[in-house]
């Protein structure tokens, strides 16, 4: 028995060639790629297919006022801790289509898309790996762009596209990739602002709700690797055209999204809350809580200090008041919204700041009563998720300490 027949007995391999061959409209790949505006470019490492588009920034789809973008970009950069002196012309938009959705060194980027601003225009360039052997040429071509750029803009690229392209440079032994290049990953502000506002935080969800654009006849991401393999095995071309479009729209959407996010952060910094999507305001408040106490208090007050609906903002609000030394106001809110959290803060306040141990003990007792009373309907969601045992131990420790302090004084 020869090796092959033995192997076929051992394991039935699932990747059987597909039964039906789809209609071939084009005689060969080159003809097809040319028909969708591909051109073969010559590089030092070989020739490779490139697709280029140039669109005016004020195009009706983009609707981007380039001078406004130049101005508005700063707050976004600063909120993402990227050097604020970076100009929009220094940004490189970047997105890959790959042979697998997971990571590892056997995952090839077969379509590498980049975008950049050139004067009043936005350019996309896409490089297609017709053959696996085209990879070094593509990487070489891209290297100049990466080296020139001062930051890379991507969507979920921090965990996927960037590590993957680094891997490709290493495997192909091409040195010079700027490993420390700052990354402006739009999924980060996207999540911060729009978490739980819509069904998810995918790029296409943002397109739908923020940009107001829905793709027609788009190839879904999960189908992309198989489509490339079909092209490799059978020369099936049509999906390749769709993938090239898909990747192009990913890049363009990133550009538009960056413009919109810039406007949002600009409005945030200028405290123009009415400009913003109402549903996103509490997310923005949470973001500000981490980065800017003063702006946070301002937004929280704008949102209204009737905290019956959003208790987590209340906690953050009162803590920020405490941080800003606005004690009287903080105490007022803790007393207005009694909860385990409030009791804990009040007890701490009276024990350590006021040295009023009796009062502190009163709040501690109130908390313990609440914890021990099973009939007590603990209303807000924060309290439902707490570790009651931990709280109990903490309050009990506090109680004995306070009792001891009171005993010593009397």
């Amino acid at each position: 028995m020869d090796l092959k027949s033995k192997l076929s007995i051992y394991k039935s391999v699932k990747n059987e060639p597909s039964q039906e061959k789809p209609n071939q409209l084009f005689a060969d790949t080159a003809e097809f790629l040319k028909s969708i505006n591909g051109e073969k470019i010559i590089t030092d490492c070989g020739n490779v297919w490139r697709f280029e588009t140039r669109t005016a920034c004020n195009d009706k789809y983009f609707g981007i006022d380039i001078s406004a973008l130049k101005k508005n970009i700063r707050p976004l950069l600063s909120h993402l801790n990227i050097d604020e002196t970076v100009e929009i012309e220094d940004l490189l938009f970047f997105d890959l289509e790959t042979t697998s959705l997971s990571t590892g060194s056997g995952n090839y980027p077969f379509l590498s898309g980049i975008g950049y601003i050139d004067g009043e225009d936005f350019i996309t360039e896409q490089l297609f790996m017709e053959n696996y052997s085209d990879e070094p040429a593509i990487l070489n071509y891209l290297l100049d762009f990466f080296c020139k750029a001062k930051a890379v803009v991507c969507f979920n690229g921090k965990t996927f596209d960037i590590p993957l392209i680094k891997t490709r440079y290493r495997i192909n032994r091409i040195p010079g990739f700027p490993v420390k290049i700052p990354i402006l990953d739009l999924i980060i502000p996207g999540r911060r602002i729009f978490k739980k506002v819509w069904e998810n935080c995918a790029l296409q969800t943002f397109e739908k709700y923020i940009i107001g654009f829905e793709r027609i006849d788009d190839i879904p991401g999960w189908a992309i690797p198989q489509a490339f393999f079909e092209f490799q095995k059978e020369g099936v071309l049509e999906p390749i055209g769709k993938i090239i479009d898909h990747n192009k729209y990913d890049i363009i959407s990133m550009y538009v999204l960056m413009f919109i996010f810039s406007k949002i952060f600009n409005a945030v910094d200028n405290r123009e809350y009415s400009e913003l999507e109402t549903k996103s305001l509490s997310n923005i408040a949470r973001h500000l809580y981490r980065v800017d106490s003063e702006s946070f208090l301002n937004l929280a007050e704008y949102l209204g200090t009737e905290f019956d609906k959003d208790f987590s903002i209340f906690e953050k609000y009162s803590i920020t008041l405490k941080r800003c030394d606005e004690w009287a106001k903080a105490v007022h809110y803790w007393q207005k919204y009694p909860s385990l959290f409030s009791y804990c803060e009040l007890a701490k306040y009276f024990e350590h700041r006021e040295k009023n141990y009796v009062k502190a003990l009163e709040y501690t007792d109130a908390a313990l009563l609440r914890l021990n009373d099973e009939s007590q309907d603990i209303v807000n969601s924060v309290e439902r998720n707490i570790n009651t045992e931990k709280y109990k131990t903490a309050f009990e420790t506090r109680k004995s300490r306070l009792s001891e302090k009171i005993r010593r004084i009397t």
């Binding site: 028995m1 090796l3 092959k4 051992y10 959705l101 590892g104 056997g106 696996y132």
Partner: protein, 760 residues
Amino acid sequence: MNIRQLIDYLKNYPSFMENVKLWITKEPIEAVYADYPENINPLLKEKYIAKGVQKLYSHQRLAYDHISHNEDVVIVTPTASGKTICYNLPVLNYIIDNPEARALYLFPTKALSQDQMTDLNSLIDQLGKDIKTYTFDGDTPSSARKAIREAGHIVVTNPDMLHSGILPHHTKWVKLFENLKFIVIDEVHTYRGVFGSHFANVMRRLKRLCNFYGSNPVFIMCSATIHNPKSHAESLIEKSVTLIDKNGAPSGEKHIVIYNPPVVNEQLGIRSSSVKEAAKLGSLILKNKIPAIIFARSRMRVEIITTYLNEQCHGLNIKGYRGGYLPNERRAIEKGLRDRTIDGVVSTNALELGIDIGMLDAVITTGYPGSFSSMMQQFGRAGRRNDSSLAIMVATSSPLDQYIASNPQFIQDANPETASVNPDNLLILMDHIKCAAFELPFGENEKFAEHLSTTSEMLAYLEEMNILKKTSGKYHWMSDIYPANDISLRSAAQENFVIVDKTKKSKVIGEVDYYAAPELIHNDAVYIHQGQQYYIDNLDWDRRMAYAHEIDSEYYTDSQTKTDIHVIEAFETLNKTFFEISRGEINVRSKVMMFKKIRFHTHENLGWADVNLPEIEMHTSAAWLDFDVDFLESLAGKEFAGTVLYSLSYIIKNISPVFTFSDIADIHSLHQARSLYSKKPAVFIYDSMPGGVGLSEKIFNSLEDICAAALNAVRTCSCAFGCPGCIGPVVDGASDIKHLTISLLEKMLSASQIEGNTVH
């Protein structure tokens, strides 16, 4: 009594001594010392001296000298001979002067790697040097992984993690691969059979990547005593290796005893249960506060002995230890043994490996553990450097154990086993060629190993299957699958079943692997964990979960499996006058059909019930015998032909491990009244691992010796008509199967070859 008094007591205790088949006393051994090398870093030397290592043992010095000449070495070391110094000393010494250098340490299990870390870290702390050592395994938090990849000087991991977590992501480990100076592989004797064959392929991939990144690391390997440490190490890394086997470490006086439980029924040849005898001896030792370990062959026996010992030794802390316990539970037991809060432990071979449990004074091995080196490893658990120790093997009634009990010189003369691997097993090789292609494209003329001229054929096959794509002379990975995830180095490890105790709250109590699940955790099985019995209410096969509740049962369960065999291809056949022996490849399908309920202590059968679970299928290698129907029927009569065939398959399977140097569980046997292949009565002996690791080929080649040993075992067995100690359990009232089997074996040995060897 202390250990020496106990040894004297046993020597003078007639009812013990009358069952002792062999008592060997090994004299204490003096240490052989050597000086520290002159060029060693003075601080490192100072710290070792401060740890109590005034001088090196001779083998430690020898290892250092060879390693510093960039030689690949294998060091054969008994338990507690200071093997870690053999690699830590040269590695640390090099890294102190070359802070860019990296080392990779491989231990066969996670537990072992964590154990080694503690030791290494304390030394590095004392050195005050910036040498970073990290464990990288499934438990490493993802937040720590980046730092380990970039900064770890010594990365400690296991083969599974190297295979699925490091090699496929090699670009993230550039620093490690570019600067890899040492690869330490401990316990290389465990890399045998399927696991070893996988391991050798993982080494091929590792070397391929080192080559890509331009490093040429020195391999430092350590092995327990096996027959062929040098050639085994060489077949794992496919390089020539220097052997260091002159041990300089001292040891105390050792007593090795082979104990055969007394016959309680002459007629049926039934001996007292080895489990009971082991528990009896164990409780005698433990009640005297002598720290001891009792090894048993199966998880079930571990649980039964633990139960018996806890009944007999009130007030003592005795634990069970085996695969299937959760890691925390295991760590707690190991720690308890080290700090002596646990008095004794009953374990499967899980504790054979070098996990640090301190030195014990006594070991009982219940049943020959399947291989001589495994037994020596178990015996090695007892023995301090300056005191006596006792190791007892209690024979079971299995033919192999009885063969050893009646030929105890076997132990005296035995060569430790030959560890063998078959890295070119087609299935295993194919798996790793895929992984390697994923890691780096294959050049069209590249060979996966120097002798593997079939590489290109295999690559072409993978291209035809659309897994690889060839362009410009290179084969590229063309699948969205991450191949390492689908390939387990230890068959079935990824397919573990989880057991959930629903008695109070749902709580995971342990795991069982894929092949063992149908036998151990079928519906209504009694599953024992830490001496506690659980009743399996429901086995959810698809979700790989079993739900159980605690019970207090008077019986345990024992399942029965039905197996079918189809021959795929015969490679070679020898024609004898009335039978043929062949070897080749087969397809085995097995299904657990029923289980029996066996009462504790009396071991009587209380009833049975059906098991309804899916069939498990496997391709493997086999050797088989086809008999002429007429011959067999004239020998045994139509009625008993099948029974004789069964007895032949039973004794061959049980005696073979002596000749194949393998574990008894690695070989299966089956008889068929009419083989689907030859249409004749047949006996199949086959590798129990998918693809096989060459055991059946060894059986094919040494059938004559096996039959002679089998004949000897049946003839010398004390039973009258056959017993589990020779030809297997015999149904009452059957014809004299024992003598029929003897005569079959005699005829087979005298049969002449009628035609030449047929190679298909």
